[in-house]
């Protein structure tokens, strides 16, 4: 059974290498024209999953369908899928033009059409004038474009990208992120992008699959994943977060009172607290911690703290707060001159936490 809605339909796929389970029972559907990112730390199984889509690895269990066809055991050269490799893997003995034309030659596309399509894609990735260069005569960014052009010119159903930007410097990387996203929209092609860089994932993707230990911990849009992490791992891996174990003290009408590790007592929305649990994880983003010299109005939780450390980060100011109860929280405030004059290491401040900004996660086993 295949779901026609999905371009890529991964069903209960497991892959083991000896005793190590690289991919553990993953089910994942990718819609046509979607930009999906597999995000996770090294060893989480994201590259193995990608290699099963390209056909370089075969699942031990489960099935993979692309465009409705079962490709679980299909050889890589019979799949309508192309990959941009982390090392680019440009053929060193072929010119830029011949590298790009390689896929078309394998498909026995005629000379005339090959010339036309190569010219088209050279234009698309802005490599005009470099057609006769050899790979070793190109800069890192140019090689990256050749690898991209080579992979999209055969018009695959799905383009797989294995950390393609990791070798570029920060500035070029950011520029390529924007270009890649624009290109993907223009082509309407399904992109599966693998990275360990969360900023990259959030910038480009329609949806992100956060992976850990061979499983997908959460699948959702960038905002969903950032604001509503489904697990402690996701909360910690994406952006900064204060994730603290909490203990139930009392149930009230709309809230429950809890004590965080360190001693700080908070009220959290009752609906968010797991029904029968006495313990859970309370997570809050540093930028959601309100900090002021005056008592904060309108926040469900207010408490006092001392600024233990102040780290200047340009546009932002990173504060480490020690609450009077003893809990340590990190906070980020915009570096506006008016506030900055007021906040310094050692100052006593008022802090506020809104109900909406508290994410309650099941306690770690």
């Amino acid at each position: 059974m295949s779901d026609p809605e999905f371009m890529i339909d991964v069903r209960a796929v497991t892959k083991r290498f000896g005793d190590f389970t690289a991919v553990n029972d993953i089910t994942l559907g990718v819609r046509a024209g979607e930009f999906i990112t597999l995000l996770g730390p090294s060893g989480c199984g994201k590259t193995t999953l990608l290699r099963m889509l390209s056909g370089f690895e075969t699942p031990d269990e489960g099935s993979i369908r692309i465009e409705g066809n079962d490709v679980t055991r299909l050889a890589p050269y019979r799949r309508n899928v192309n990959q941009v490799f982390q090392s680019y893997a440009l053929f060193p003995h072929l010119s830029v033009r011949d590298n790009i034309a390689f896929g078309l030659r394998m498909q026995k596309v005629g000379d005339e059409e090959t010339r036309r399509r190569v010219a088209e894609v050279v234009d698309l990735v802005a490599l005009g004038g470099f057609e006769d260069r050899m790979p070793h005569q190109l800069s890192g960014g140019q090689r990256q474009r050749v690898a991209l052009a080579r992979a999209i010119v055969p018009k695959p159903a799905v383009l797989l990208l294995d950390e393609p930007l990791s070798a570029l410097d920060a500035k070029l990387r950011r520029q390529m992120q924007v270009e890649l996203k624009r290109l993907q929209k223009r082509l309407g092609m399904t992109f599966v992008f693998v990275t360990h860089d969360q900023e990259e994932a959030l910038t480009m993707s329609d949806r992100v699959a956060v992976m850990n230990r061979g499983r997908v911990e959460q699948l959702g849009t960038a905002t969903e994943i950032y604001h509503r992490p489904a697990s402690g791992f996701v909360a910690d891996f994406i952006g900064e977060s204060n994730s603290l174990p909490a203990e139930l003290l009392a149930r009230e009408d709309a809230a429950v009172r809890v004590r965080l590790q360190g001693g700080l007592e908070l009220r959290v929305p009752r609906a968010a607290w797991p029904a029968d649990a006495t313990r859970a994880l309370v997570s809050v983003r540093p930028e959601k911690v309100c900090v002021s010299k005056r008592p904060i109005e309108g926040a469900e939780n207010g408490f006092q703290a001392v600024i233990a450390e102040e780290i200047f980060q340009g546009a932002l100011d990173h504060l480490v707060l020690r609450t009077d109860a003893g809990t340590v929280l990190s906070a980020v405030v915009a570096n506006e001159s008016a506030i900055m004059e007021a906040l310094h290491e050692g100052d006593r401040v008022w802090c506020g936490l809104h109900f909406d900004d508290l994410v309650i996660l099941p306690a770690l086993a």
Partner: protein
């Protein structure tokens, strides 16, 4: 930089004497290595039949060499044998290196060591054992036997050269070719082989040179008809030195040096 440093801090006399000493020593080593060859080449232009007295300049010995039927015949044999052994060594060495590199075997390390043994095995042992093998297999001695014998000690050199290149090759290259629709065979032929070309050529030149001047193994495996040039030279030298041999050696030295330089050039290209 270093010039400036030398001016500002002159080296003590003791160290400068040491520099002199090391320079002289290096010169001596080179004299020891290349002196005899220089003398040999010089005397190939000497009119005297004796290698000890210089009389006058002549090309006579080069001329005699060109008219010496046994030398020309055995040179032809040597070229045919070296060419054939090189082709076989390239095919076996390259595919062998690829298979060892690409697939994991049980006992791959043992295979690797066993392949390298002929490179260091005493030639006399190789010669005798091959002779026995050919007898047992009732293969008559002739061109085939020498070519096979030469292939056995030549192909490990090609294999090792190709293997070194393969280890530096991005494994994603083959995958990229497969990904773009090339079958494994086409990926090997269109992507891997071109990447290996410099290593294959330098291995082939090595194999050819080794085969051309091999003496002992040839001694055990030739027939009178497939006699090689080194054997002919060895036979002539036993009867007495002849300036013709000087001329022949001079030609060999120049060709070998050219080969070596070309091989080194290719290695540098490959390393890029």
């Amino acid at each position: 930089m270093s010039d400036l440093a030398a001016k500002r801090f002159p080296r003590p006399t003791g160290l400068r004497l040491l520099d002199w000493g090391l320079g002289a020593w290096t010169a001596l080593v080179f004299l020891f290595l290349y002196g005899p060859i220089a003398v040999l080449i010089g005397y190939s232009f000497n009119t005297s039949k004796l290698n000890v007295v210089w009389e006058a300049f002549t090309f006579r010995w080069y001329g005699e060499l060109m008219r010496n039927e046994p030398i020309l015949r055995t040179l032809g044999n040597s070229l045919v044998i070296a060419a054939a052994a090189t082709v076989l060594a390239v095919v076996i060495g390259t595919t062998g290196a690829w298979l060892l590199h690409r697939f994991r075997y049980r006992g791959a390390r043992a295979i690797q060591t066993l392949i390298c043994v002929p490179m260091i095995m005493p030639e006399i042992v190789m010669g005798v054992s091959l002779l026995i093998l050919f007898r047992v297999a009732s293969l008559e001695l002739g061109f085939a036997s020498v070519i096979l014998a030469h292939t056995t000690f030549c192909f490990p050199f090609v294999l090792v050269a190709v293997q070194a290149r393969l280890q530096g090759l991005d494994p994603a290259l083959e995958e990229a070719a497969l990904d773009l629709g090339a079958t494994p065979l086409r990926a090997f032929w269109l992507v891997i082989v071109p990447c290996l070309r410099p290593a294959v050529i330098s291995g082939a030149l090595m194999a050819f040179t080794l085969s051309m001047d091999e003496l002992i193994i040839s001694f055990f495996t030739v027939s009178p008809a497939s006699r090689t040039l080194p054997l002919q030279v060895f036979g002539m030298a036993k009867v007495g030195l002849n300036p013709m041999l000087n001329a022949l050696s001079a030609i060999f030295v120049v060709t070998t040096v050219a080969f070596v330089l070309f091989t080194e050039h290719l290695k540098r290209l490959a390393a890029r």
